[in-house]
Structures are given as structure tokens and as C-alpha cells.
Symmetry: C2
Subunit: 342 residues, 2 copies
DNA sequence: TGTTAGCACTCTTGACTATCGACTGCTAAT
DNA sequence: ATTAGCAGTCGATAGTCAAGAGTGCTAACA
């Protein structure tokens, strides 16, 4: 257990490093954070904290920088004492004052505003928890094609298009619809991910519906790829504003890593958590990208749809600001979704 | 008009600069491109080409680098003499051997493969040329909601979802459908972009359909934002592999610029051109991003749907390779689309 | 007249050095 | 336990210098 003063000093190092991106010296701390004791005392404490694994000294005549362990400690100690400026709150509200109708619009707006205010890459992950098929509809488009609509209990529709075979008449379309409903309704979407067209299922009587059957499985498969997850990101290039990514190699490593939406989804939904709960992952040990942190909040996006909103950025991240922004935004989003569902 | 030797030398400078990214000296040219005359002769020619605006000398004891004018000349002179290696052709074909069903799948596959082979950012733009509404369907999903499906002649469907008002019955849904069809069928989608809900249109008799009407206008508006354009990009981070974007500032400038999909769409569709025609834009004067080039090919993606596929990268781009890759890919895509439509 | 060898000149690049200054750790005094 | 003071370490910065790359020009030559 750390003494009160050690905690203060440790947090001062982290704050200073987050602010300046350079090693923090005992003098800096004495002048800006802890005027009540001398720099020599702080030096002793720093030395102790270093041997405890919280701090790293790049070289003997440099100040200290925080280790991963220090960042973990820091975010745990963190009091939510950062308050958004009036300008920032206004900026957020201005963004949301535009008419926003669909869930997709909300997601887009959220990524934009979070990224613009925090200057980190913003991520929103939408996750359909329940995807039981409740109905399948075939819609004759009167141009030789029909639209396949799959309705699930999470209000999500997955659709595909298909030619109507020449030998089909209206009667048969309806018959096909009945048959498909008998086959699929009540089943969960995930049941079809590893489905390999066992045509035996389709007996001779219905062999003319094979193409339809296949099409529907295709649609289901595609939609189930990420388990119904939808990932939206914005502000990837913001990483280049931060000094640890000034060189092309590390920047590219970061950008390539966050190109994989599936991995992103994992990082942001690793452990469920309830509405409003905040998760902070620090460094590769926490399954964040190397040298990075991931801060996310769980937000319910409707009945049976949960989501995560958050940012991904350098470990040296302004956690206080990010947390306040996420707090404010998730509040607005919950409000927005609530209203819509009412 | 340039002499033959001047042309040769100019192309040698461009080739050398594309290859090495450093100023090209008279000696380099003499050794690698033009052994039949001496470096002194080449120096004289270089000097002439510089005063003609084709070359730039960063400082007196450096070689020459090509100007925008030189790149323009170069791509005009360019013989399509680059041949893809066997490995590259195989790589392309491997990518396409996976089952690809929808147009979206094709677009995704195309961006991936182009970017991976060329190491530039790949772009595919899909453009619905004709969007006359042929039918509107309302589909009761039997969960209190209905799906609005708008069918246009370019086989594209735009859909939205809507609550069914409590006082609606099946009869009224059908009535609404009839009414909507009367209103919208035959009109072009673009007619509704600047539509501002003149509710006067909706007389008292049909006032209960106001919400529906509004919803449909919303869907049309959203889909018309880019004139029905769909932009897909891949490999944004590849820019960091190229030496002119080693520093964070220019890289960020590039990445921020290509974040605006609307601008991208403009760059890739500026002048129509027929199936297979190639456009190369060089530098800001050509409406490409500053210091960049845009190479694109027009490809028909189906009846009434045209598209552009291409890359965006540094002006110092391997045009020969890019052109060959685009050539091969567009050939495959045309083949694929053709088959599907058959 | 066009080409070329040779040379003087310019300017970048990299290596090396010296100096400065930022910090620390330690010691001894409080 | 705290702190002032000081020696010691090491990175950062600036300056110097030599090497090398590349040019332009001149004069000779085909």
C-alpha cells in the first residue's frame, strides 16, 4: 500500500507526463504539484516508486516516466474532477442539435463529436444481443426480382435480393414464404453460421426453393460474421497529433492495427458490464494495442441492442477529459434512445 | 516539342525519382538509362529541361526532381510496358476465387486487392445513374412496425422502418401504399433532395399518412446525399510507407483529406468517360490532393450503375504498375458483373 | 554544331568534439 | 524524517571539418 504522499507524487508524475509528454523531474513536481516539501524529498520518493515498478527512468540524468503499472494505478485513483469547459459542452450540444433520426445517425454523430473533442480515435460498437428469427417475408418487386426480408426480435432486418425464377408464379412465392417461415422462425441467427447447405434438408417436393434457401443462409451468414456487431470509427488520423506517433513506423503500426474491425469490436466489448459502466484497458497486457489505451462505456442502444462507445489512443491519454466526455455523451445518447423508444 | 533524347532523359528522371525518391543525377541517368552518351551531354539537356519547367533542382549540388509538368508529360508518354509478375497475377486471382456474391462484396474485394498489390490507398466509387422510383411497398412486420421499401429502376432498394400507428389497420396500410405510389412513382429521386415538407401537399383526407410521407422523403434525401454514390476505400495507412509522408504533419494532412468521402467521390468521377477509360490527375491543379495523384478507371457495375476504381497516392507513384493492376482488375470485374447479369 | 573530358565550385551529409544544462543520488546537517 | 548542497552522469545542441556528390563551365574535338 502506498503512502498518501507517494500516491500524490505518482499521480503528479502521470499528470505531468500526460501533459508534457516528457520525463517529469523532481523539481517540476515540487513547483507545480507539491510545494509543501522539497525536491530532495520528492527525489527520495521517486526513487522508491521506481524500485516498486511504478516509474521508469530513461537515463540517469532524466526525470521519470510512468510505467503501465503507474497508469493502472492512476486510473483507479482517478477522481472525476475534470469538468468540461462551457465551450466543450456547447460543442457537444451543437452536434446533437441537428436532426438525428436513425440509430446509424446517432452512431456517426457520436464518433465525430468524441473524436473532435478528445483528439483521439473514437469507436462505437453496436451489438445485437438477441437475433431470433420471427418472420421471413418475400416481397415481389414486380420487376422479376424479389426482396428477402428477415425479421428478428431485435428489430433488425437483414435483406437480400433474388431473381424470381421464370417458372414461379405469385402462388408459389407465397408457398415459398410459408415454407421458409416453417423452417426458420424461432431459430437463432447464430445457428446458421457454420451451415453448409445440407440439401438433404430440402426434400424433392420443395427442390425448386433451393436457391431461396441458399440465399437466406447466405444473408444470415454474412450478418452473423461479427455476431451481429457493427463497428464505426472516426478520427483515425488524429493519432498523428500525438508525439509518440510522430514517426511513420509506429503510426502505421497503430493504423494497421485499428483497421481490423473485428479486433476493435473485441477490445470494446471484452467484458459486458452494465449500462454506464466504464472500462479502461491499458497496454498490450490488457489486450489494447501495444502502447495504447482503450477507454469505453457501455450504453444500451435499445431493446436487445447494447453498445460501447469510447476512444482508443496513446497510453499517455488525457483520461480525465476522455472520461468526462464519455460521461456526457453517453448521458445524451441514453436520453436520445429513451425518447425514441417511448 | 521535345527532342527524342530530351523525352528519354525526362522519363529517365521521372522513373529514377519514382524508384528511389531522391534527386536524380546526370551520372545516374548515364549509367542506368542512357549509356550511349556522356554525363556532360545529359547535364546540358537537364539544364535545358529545367529552364523549360520540367525539372527542379533542390540545390546546386543535387540532382533533379520532376515537376508536376514532368509527371504530366510522363504519364502521357507512358507505354503500358509494365507487366505484372506471375506472383501478382496469382495474388489477384486468389483474391477473387473466394465466393463473391453481392456488388458490395465485389467492391470490398477490389479495394483490398488493389491496395495490397500497389501499396497505395484504393478507392471504389459506385454511382447510381438513374433513380426513378418504380414502386413503393409497405411491409407489415407483424411486430407493430412496417418496412418501407422504395424500388427504383436501377435495381437499388432504399428502405427505412416505421412504427405503425395504433389506429392503423391492415386496410389502411394498403390504402397508404396505394396513395404513396400515386405520389412518388415515376418521379426521380433527385427531385426530393431539397424538399422541405410542404404539408399542404397532403390534404386532410390523408393527413394520417403524414408520418409515412415524411419518412419516405427522409429516406430519399439520405440516399440522394451523394447523388446515390457509394464510396469504399482501403489501405489509408499505406501512405506512411512512402518516404514523402514520413513526417507526421504531411501524413495527417493526407489522411484528413481522404476522410471526406464526398471529396473522394468527386475526384474519382470528375469526368465521366466510358467503360475502361483511364484518368490520371496530378497534383492540386488537377483537383487531386496537394502533392498527390489520382489514377482511376471507369467500370460499368451493372445496368444504370457506373463505377470508378482506382488509387490515390503520392505524385511519385508507380504509374506503370498501377495502370497494369487497374487494367487487370477492371477486366475481371467487368467479367464478373457480366456473368452475374447474364 | 553537337559532344565530351576535365576541373573548379557549391552544398549536403556525417562524424567528431566541446560545451551546456538538466537531473539525480548521496552526504551531512537540521 | 527532511532538506540544502554538491558532485557526477548523460543527453542535447552547436560548431567544425572532411568527404563526397553533383553541377556548370570551358576548351578541345569530331
Amino acid at each position: 500500500m502506498l503512502s498518501d504522499r507517494k500516491k500524490k507524487i505518482l499521480c503528479a508524475v502521470v499528470d505531468g507526463y500526460i501533459d508534457k509528454a516528457t520525463p517529469v523531474s523532481s523539481k517540476d513536481i515540487q513547483q507545480e504539484y507539491l510545494t509543501e516539501c522539497s525536491s530532495a524529498t520528492i527525489r527520495n520518493e521517486l526513487s522508491a516508486l521506481e524500485s516498486m515498478g511504478y516509474l521508469i527512468q530513461p537515463h540517469v540524468s532524466a526525470g521519470r516516466i510512468p510505467s503501465e503499472k503507474a497508469f493502472r494505478f492512476y486510473v483507479n485513483e482517478l477522481a472525476y474532477d475534470y469538468n468540461l469547459t462551457v465551450a466543450e459542452v456547447e460543442q457537444i450540444e451543437r452536434h446533437f442539435s441537428r436532426k438525428i433520426s436513425t440509430l446509424e445517425d446517432v452512431m456517426t454523430a457520436v464518433t465525430r463529436i468524441i473524436s473532435d473533442i478528445t483528439n483521439y480515435t473514437a469507436v462505437v460498437v453496436k451489438e445485437d444481443m438477441s437475433d431470433t428469427i420471427t418472420a421471413i417475408k418475400l416481397l415481389d418487386l414486380s420487376n422479376g426480382k424479389m426482396l428477402v426480408v428477415i425479421v428478428t426480435d431485435s428489430r433488425v432486418l437483414k435483406d437480400g435480393m433474388l431473381d424470381i425464377p421464370d417458372d414461379f408464379n405469385g402462388q408459389m412465392v407465397m408457398q415459398a414464404e410459408r415454407w421458409l417461415n416453417k423452417l426458420f422462425v424461432g431459430k437463432h441467427v447464430s445457428e446458421f453460421i457454420n451451415f453448409n447447405y445440407p440439401y438433404a434438408l430440402v426434400n424433392d417436393e420443395f427442390s425448386q426453393f433451393n436457391a431461396l434457401f441458399k440465399k437466406i443462409i447466405d444473408v444470415l451468414k454474412k450478418q452473423s460474421l461479427f455476431g451481429g456487431m457493427d463497428v464505426e470509427t472516426y478520427g483515425e488520423s488524429k493519432i498523428l497529433q500525438h508525439s509518440e506517433y510522430y514517426d511513420a513506423r509506429s503510426a502505421q503500426k497503430f493504423l494497421t492495427e485499428i483497421e481490423d474491425k473485428e479486433k476493435i469490436a473485441e477490445m470494446f466489448t471484452y467484458d459486458g458490464g452494465e449500462n454506464g459502466s466504464v472500462t479502461i484497458k491499458i497496454g498490450a497486457n490488457d489486450s489494447a494495442p501495444d502502447g495504447c489505451s482503450v477507454v469505453s462505456t457501455r450504453v444500451s442502444l435499445g431493446e436487445n441492442i447494447s453498445g460501447s462507445i469510447g476512444v482508443i489512443g496513446p497510453m499517455r491519454m488525457n483520461y480525465k477529459k476522455v472520461l468526462s466526455v464519455l460521461d456526457k455523451i453517453s448521458e445524451i445518447v441514453i436520453d436520445l434512445i429513451g425518447k425514441e423508444n417511448k
